[in-house]
Amino acid sequence: MIYSILTLFDIILILTMLWLAWCLLNTEDIFKAVVLFISFGLLMALAWVRMRAPDVALAEAALGAGLTGPLFLSALRRMNRTRKGERRLDSDENREKEHKANQEQG
């Protein structure tokens, strides 16, 4: 009895995680992706618990959800600031500008 219930629990957990991962990879909004990542970390910890690895679950909860999440959020602010200061290092616009400059020189 208990094993069938736990199996059902696992199936729902796996489906939720797959859905979450799919949304996470598909989303365009970076902030949304970060929140989805934090949620994914929490569910991943639950998954480790179900795989009978509570120590890994502890590490996952602490690192995946607790440290990486705030780190990403802080990084997001830096990114916004850079964008406002018109200094987007990695953007397509910059690359185009460089390309044009190169062409003019050439």
Partner: protein, 94 residues
């Protein structure tokens, strides 16, 4: 091992899964972050129930970590991400 607690944990799992809609749809960033908080609280409850259901008291420690760190993410969000995004309108960041 107790099947009853496992069933209770199973009931709470859809509560998490439904919260996903708010992440996908939430108009403001805070709505999305609140869902992460919901995941934290529900995760704590599921872990508490599973610790009896699977007969493993170690899970209580994981629940403790969940409780601490879900809040950390929210606080970082409010102080770093959300506040910083339009500082021009309100000069007083906290």
């Amino acid at each position: 091992m107790s099947w009853m607690h496992t069933i209770f944990a199973l009931i709470l799992l859809p509560a998490i899964a439904t919260g996903m809609f708010r992440i996908l749809r939430g108009p403001t960033a805070a709505d999305r972050m609140m869902t992460a908080q919901l995941f934290g609280t529900c995760g704590v409850a599921i872990l508490l129930l599973l610790s009896t259901g699977m007969g493993n008291p170690v899970l209580l420690d994981i629940a403790l970590v969940f409780a601490l760190l879900a809040a950390l993410a929210t606080i970082t969000f409010v102080r770093r991400t959300w506040h910083g995004s339009n500082k021009r309108n309100h000069g007083n960041p906290l």
